[in-house]
Subunit: 397 residues, 2 copies
């Protein structure tokens, strides 16, 4: 399929196929780049980058730039190092940065393209489910700072996104589950019509055929595109995409690589659902649906004990949405749902100012599910399914 | 005076006064910032930053962030370090970055503001002549990469520019001359009506009263604003501001701090004028006027022997305008004048593709003024004045 992504005034094509590397090569050659800078991490370089460069370089100058894999290395220094390498290879204004990887590489290479010569062309080739279904449908190109995730960045549009579901076949369990958590987020926060499809398609072993992946990705893209079209800066309606991200980012940062991005966001969604329920907004059935879908996707719904909850609360103070608040010291700005696909709006934004004390209470209970209070808001059906298989804990521990 | 700067769709006020620090403080307080991040270098921190913070902090949270002074430290790492400090101090979306310094601090703080939370408010308080008269009238926020100047950056608009000519009283000779070279550039390339004013006002000792500085800055701003209004990205008419910058940047980079920015650009303009003359475009009188005005301003018009000319030629290959060329290996994209205020246009840009060999020939001759050819194009009057006082050589050596 080819979808035209619309983000405010920005338009770019998203091409999704299966076993379509040949078409991707043709698209890249057709860009008349002075040089293609293929940016990979240490995983995607050998898997996809090397073959791409091999097929491209007889027809256009192409170089492979490999960055160390992992969220901890997603910082401004990485951008500077890669840009320096690109310049030494002869990059100029007519060069094109091609990001081959997941969200981390997409962000690093995206910011690199935005800053090199104050902006050169960028193409995303997402190789993870989270990147295909979520992160490449954003103009946000951001890296981490010392005190929090994605605090340094800019808005920058790619020329195109070229995706091949075949690249997902080698994706580890942890990464597939990570992407599915964001898909679940899009279904709960934006597009409840996806819920039945997810209920039947999701598998706890995270083994999917190409057709199912294709459907999951297509639906998720349509969900996301529907809220970003009129909000390219994701500061109004698009903020709903931050569902689960306030607490999720804090958990992810605290876990320091121990949890995947999507898994952390999934836990953040469970917290957000509980908070919304206690504030009288979201009914128990919807809260239970959060746990059900995440569990079906193979994700955990309790915060593992390795995560330092005091640190999570501390990190919340650096969330990038806190500037929207009048009283950031005592409150946390969160996306909360009043119902499926129905975020609660305040002052023109889908954000609710939640007392830090309530967030802390819920986080503590979700980390310790034996506390009776937890059982009360969690229907029996979900508790049954909520028993996370050992393999999940091992993969994410 | 207050001028509304217009750069494409962007508008911001430029307020110029003398002894107006009180008004600057009021303007900053009126911004309702959650925190003012006063970014200085090790020179402007003690001179202006400390007093600003002292006067501001009873009324609004304000912190002084000091970065090591100098072009060699203008890189992405500096931006990251300052941003990390700001975040640790509690910066959020409602904070304002206040750049107090010359072009280097303006660029570093400008890029920091552009990237923090994907863009927070920015105010420029330029403290050097070059910043007041030139660099703050630009949306370019860029830092250096390993192989060249200003290769990494973005376009970002300040909320306002607040300037006080009193801050120029402490400016060293070298910096005053640096700013005047850019003023001379604006007069030659854009606004020849300034030439007579400059002829009578410029002083080789670079000692000016407030009124003269005020006039020089005002005129230079009007010159620059006239070409950027319809070209906020400086990729069409605004490229004329790059006059002297192709060779100038290469000289500046090679001199590694030995020459001020403006002085290097001044030398770049002399090269550009000679090149244009040899290509049959610019007459001898106009070439001589370059040397005359620069000399009157206290600048050198020959490349000092410490500058490695082979390195200058090598650096030219990394100039950020080379992507505009069809054959970048053998040519250099330069702004050339056909007459005063009349850049030569090709393919919709004020850029001429000049053979590298010709650039090299002229650079070598301008570095060795004893070659007869140099005397021919330089009228007697200018040669007389062109004898640079020893003090200048010492200041720039």
């Amino acid at each position: 399929m080819e979808v035209e992504i619309r983000l405010g005034s920005v338009r770019y094509p998203f091409r999704l196929g299966t076993d379509c590397l040949g078409a991707i090569v043709e698209d890249l050659v057709a860009m008349s780049a002075s040089r293609l800078l293929i940016v990979c991490d240490s995983n995607t370089g050998p898997l996809f980058g090397a073959e791409l460069v091999e097929r491209l370089s007889p027809r256009v100058p192409a170089n492979l730039l490999i960055h160390r894999a992992g969220e901890p290395y997603k910082d401004l220094q990485a951008v500077g190092t890669l840009a320096d390498s690109a310049l030494q290879l002869g990059a100029d204004r007519a060069s094109v940065v091609v990001a081959v990887g997941g969200g981390v590489i997409g962000n690093i290479a995206g910011l690199m393209a935005a800053l090199l010569f104050r902006g050169i062309r960028l193409v995303h080739i997402p190789t993870s489910l989270i990147a295909m279904s979520d992160s490449v449908l954003s103009l946000k190109q951001a890296v981490n700072a010392c005190v929090g995730k994605n605090l340094m960045g800019t808005f920058y549009a790619p020329e195109s996104v070229l995706a091949d579901t075949a690249m997902l076949r080698s994706l580890p369990f942890r990464e597939t589950v990570s992407g599915l958590c964001e898909v679940v987020k899009n279904s709960l926060a934006i597009r409840p019509s996806m819920v039945e499809m997810l209920r039947t398609s999701l598998r706890q072993d995270a083994v999917y055929d190409d057709e199912t992946m294709y459907e999951i990705i297509s639906e998720s893209i349509l969900a996301k595109a529907s809220v970003t079209e009129d909000d390219m800066h994701e500061c109004r309606a698009g903020l709903v995409l931050e569902y689960g991200h306030t607490v999720g980012h804090a958990i992810e940062y605290t876990a320091a690589g121990g949890l995947s991005h999507g898994q952390a966001i999934g836990l953040g969604m469970v917290v957000a659902a509980e908070v919304s329920h206690r504030l009288g907004h979201l009914d128990q059935e919807a809260v239970a649906l959060h746990r059900e879908l995440l569990t079906r996707a193979g994700a955990m719904v309790t915060i593992p004990e390795e995560v330092d909850l005091d640190e999570v609360m501390h990190r919340l103070r650096f969330d990038n949405k806190r500037g929207y608040l009048a009283d950031p010291a005592e409150s946390s700005a969160m996306v909360l749902l009043g119902g499926l696909g129905e975020p609660l709006w305040h002052d023109g934004r889908p954000l609710v100012s939640v007392p830090m004390a309530l967030v802390g209470e819920v986080i503590n209970e979700i980390a310790c599910p034996e506390i009776p209070n937890f059982e009360l808001v969690s229907p029996v059906e979900t508790v049954e399914e909520g028993r996370v298989p050992d393999t999940v804990g091992a993969a994410d521990g």
